[in-house]
Symmetry: C2
Subunit: 250 residues, 2 copies
DNA sequence: CGCTCGTTTGATATATTTCAAGAATTGTGG
DNA sequence: CCACAATTCTTGAAATATATCAAACGAGCG
């Protein structure tokens, strides 16, 4: 049993190890990162656009999202995050935050001083690569979202989002892709897909009446994965999930 | 005069030094990276979606763009790149390319083996940070594009794109923000903004008749920067250009 | 000089938004 | 545990920004 087995940072380590093989010393160093665990309520803002955060934060439980406000006060959601995601390293590394980070649900986050992350990266190239990889996958997801919002119709955008959340929750060990927690309201789905809440509602009902999904409370049940993926023009390659992780059963 | 003063990689070094201070040894190591310079024609594809590139490439001259093809064959342009940009490190690091990279104009690119980049990063933490920073700014630009395509109307999207290209060319030392090369056709602008070429044409004429820009051949002259920035809901903070660089005259 | 590619213009179609209001859930304090 | 408030979801009708289709015009190029 390694030292730090009681560290709160296991979810982060789990994710980093999916990106790059880390030896025991690397893993121990990740777990030994200084951090403060914060319990935080739904809707709470973690970082404001324009802040100069000194820490980045790993999500331990619950869901968060990033968003920006455009002129007229309209909101665009940029990404959704869950257990193991290192959600604010961008803002911390770039000194001045260029977007907001907010909790979608209540949850726990670990605040890690950015200096400690940089020191660890300088010392341990494998960890640096894993961290870099994490932010590169982040970028890959942003690219796919540009396509989603720019070139797909409403129904396709929504189906695509549902597929992404399914696979990422599966990757994070939060359940199977066919039945998972959906922490977003229809208005939030609208802000993530560049639509209005009213139109999201109609499209979601369409997916339901067509028998692709069932929605109960705050969860999604996928009736036919292949059909939903087709409806969402969804090809999971952009998530860069290793074959071994993707293939593993829930 | 440092060694490698005749290296082709000066544009890359220039950019990295804008992100992080590098000492002479770091700089020399960057310039000493193994590379092959390729002259490449307009429209040529550098990397195909699905490839497993072994190299990343720094743009030495000319313009490139990244794009994805969605179902139905529609194209979404993800970003535009110019001198000094390290354009394909994402695809190389992530092993399998998740988007295409193609030349917008003819130009020269330096192909650098990804292994050499990783070795350099492991050896020189400051260089690693600069490279990471470069990819993080890349991500910041993607985020802004999600907002642009998701939550702004046609005229605003186009004005925003024009502002971004102006400032980035200024940053790259390619001219002033008020008069710069515009390497994109209206159809390409459409694919970058999630619109149709016809509509881009109408909006562009609107910006012209309103006296915000003038367009001659393949260049843009900005009549009133403040007005164009306002029309484009443009706040340059997301580019993370250091004050000293942004403030400097063209 | 003729061809190709890019731009411009017009008329019509349509996906999505907007506005409005009622129904269903969820949350909350007593 | 209930009653009330506040979200969230649902539905309908009308408005509009943008897409689509089609054709002419202009410019660069071999």
């Amino acid at each position: 049993m390694p030292r730090h087995s009681n560290s709160a940072l296991h979810p982060l380590l789990r994710k980093l190890r999916q990106w790059r093989a880390l030896d025991d010393a690397d893993a121990a160093a990740v777990l030994a990162l200084p951090h403060v665990v914060r319990a935080i309520g739904a809707g709470q803002v973690v970082v404001w656009d324009g802040d100069r955060p000194q820490s980045c934060c790993a999500i331990l439980s619950g869901f968060a999202f990033r968003h920006k406000i455009a002129s007229g006060g309209v909101r665009q959601i940029l990404s959704v995050h869950m257990r193991g995601d290192l959600v604010d390293i961008h803002n911390a590394m770039l000194r001045v935050a260029d977007h907001n980070v907010q909790m979608l649900t209540e949850g726990q986050i670990a605040m890690i001083p950015i200096d400690a992350v940089l020191a660890l990266s300088a010392e341990r190239p494998r960890v640096a690569e894993a961290l870099w990889y994490e932010t590169l996958v982040d970028g890959a997801i942003f690219r796919e979202w540009i396509v989603n919002v720019g070139r797909r119709d409403a129904r396709t955008r929504i189906a695509h989002l549902l597929c992404e959340l399914a696979l990422r929750q599966e990757q994070a060990g939060l359940g199977g892709r066919l039945d998972y927690e959906m922490p977003m309201t229809q208005e939030q789905i609208a802000d993530a897909t560049g639509l209005t809440a009213v139109h999201v509602n109609r499209m979601l009902m369409g997916l339901r009446t067509d028998g692709l999904i069932a929605r109960t409370n705050r969860s999604i049940t996928v009736a036919d994965w292949a059909q939903l993926a087709a409806a969402g023009d969804f090809n999971p390659r952009y998530l860069h999930i290793p074959e071994t992780v993707l293939a593993a059963p829930a």
